[in-house]
Amino acid sequence: MRKELPIAICAVAALIYVVSTYISPTVFPAGPELVRELNVWYLLVFACAFAVGLVNLAQIHIRRITQRREGWQFSIILMSFMTLMLVLGVFTTGRGTYSDWLYQYWFVNPRATMYSILVFYIASAAYRAFRVKSFEASVLLVAAIIMMLGQAPIGEVIWGQIPKMSRWILNYPNAAGMRGITIAATLGGVATALRIVLGIERGHLGGMGE
């Protein structure tokens, strides 16, 4: 029953979504309303799970602080800001409030910094990937150089055909490969969904598909 019930709920919910999408609302008028209702249920489950996540985070860091594990000072910072944000978020909402200030100036900026770090990682990954060790790596290197020169004004100064070559690489070999991967992945996604709806795959229930 512990596994059959979730599978049954999953199958019924999936059927509602599929029928509501594919069957015209004039034939099945209750469809859109049912989908809206299911989305509300999902939000409720998400909210409950969020609380579970919060408890997990608190447990780990409180334990780290009380046991003085390595880096426990950072856990104090995390717990302090989490509590502060929670309290301010509950009692004040909207623009110009303390919670908004905390979000805009203490959260958005570090997040942008993390995103910016990506440029250095791209450089180091590109260095490793473009080292000419094999024929494939050489092809990658040549294509990458043409692409980079094609995107920068200097490419056109060196040779007027470079931007055209760059566009050709992007629009033909690259697009063909990407579309092939996308089509196969989409079919894989549909097949995975079917396996789950039919209860064949139970990985999400803690099993291995048995």
């Binding site: 396996r195 064949i200 598909g209």
Partner: protein, 256 residues
């Protein structure tokens, strides 16, 4: 009866589903299922976990940042189940990090069940399945910290990834981890290919549960999936020929 612009989609999906069900039924009735090719990334999982065991360092698993409704996240659960069982078997620490709270609840249960299945329930540490943050880059910075502090020996990333993919992969490369990654997000695949030791490309992620479990029914499903691909390729070739000859019949038919 069928909603506007969905007629061709419904017919094609029904045909695909019938094909899958036929192949699953054949497998269930014991008929021979064709062999599937080796997937290097999945073959390497055992070796990568073994390395972590030898070094006495943890394995890190990320199911990506997709939510529970994402097919890639669902496919990732089966791989997590396998990795968790292997880690339980060899008594290796497995750190699972999560961005989505619903996914966190599921991964905790999967890892717990895997340890129970291997008779190592006492070795399961709930603190090793961690909810980090709902924010993409807060999650990314948390994972970076774990990789650096805990000196992760093996980094497995399977699921839906966006900009954080390369951040994780490079952090893993810096700490000297064996890295196995898989995603169907086409714009992130090049990053994984460039930065990881093994990469599952697109559909290989969805084939993982069948590959790892060797279950004939799941393998039958894979074969059905391949028939769908053959049909898609045939339709593309036919469509290209017809379009070149000036006929848009197939294109218009698929738009209905």
């Amino acid at each position: 009866m069928i909603a506007t612009n969905y007629v061709a989609t419904v017919i094609l999906e029904l045909a695909f589903l019938i094909g899958l069900i036929v192949m699953i039924s054949r497998a269930r009735s014991g008929l021979k299922v064709p062999a599937i090719r080796k997937v290097a990334g999945l073959e390497a999982l055992d070796e990568a976990i073994g390395r972590a065991t030898e070094l006495g360092r943890p394995v890190h698993y990320s199911p990506g940042i997709g939510d529970f409704q994402n097919a890639q996240t669902l496919a990732s659960f089966a791989i997590l189940g396998y990795v968790a069982r292997m880690c339980a078997k060899y008594d290796t620490q497995l750190i699972t990090t999560n961005r989505n709270p619903v996914v966190y609840s599921v991964t905790e249960e999967i890892v717990h069940q895997a340890f129970v299945a291997e008779g190592r329930a006492d070795s399961f540490n709930p603190d090793d399945v961690r909810y980090m943050s709902d924010d993409q880059f807060a999650y990314a910075s948390g994972v970076l910290g774990i990789m650096a502090r805990e000196k992760v020996a093996t980094n497995v990333m399977m699921g839906a990834f966006w900009a954080e993919s390369l951040i994780f992969a490079e952090a893993g490369a810096i700490t000297g981890s064996i890295q196995i990654a898989g995603t169907a997000n086409t714009h992130q695949i090049p990053f994984f290919v460039a930065a990881c030791d093994y990469a599952l490309i697109g559909e290989e992620l969805f084939a993982a549960s069948a590959y790892l479990s060797k279950d004939p029914v799941l393998l039958g499903n894979l074969v059905g999936q391949d028939f769908g691909k053959i049909f898609a390729v045939a339709a593309m070739i036919l469509g290209s020929i017809m379009a070149t000859a000036g006929s848009n019949v197939l294109r218009d038919m698929l738009r209905k």
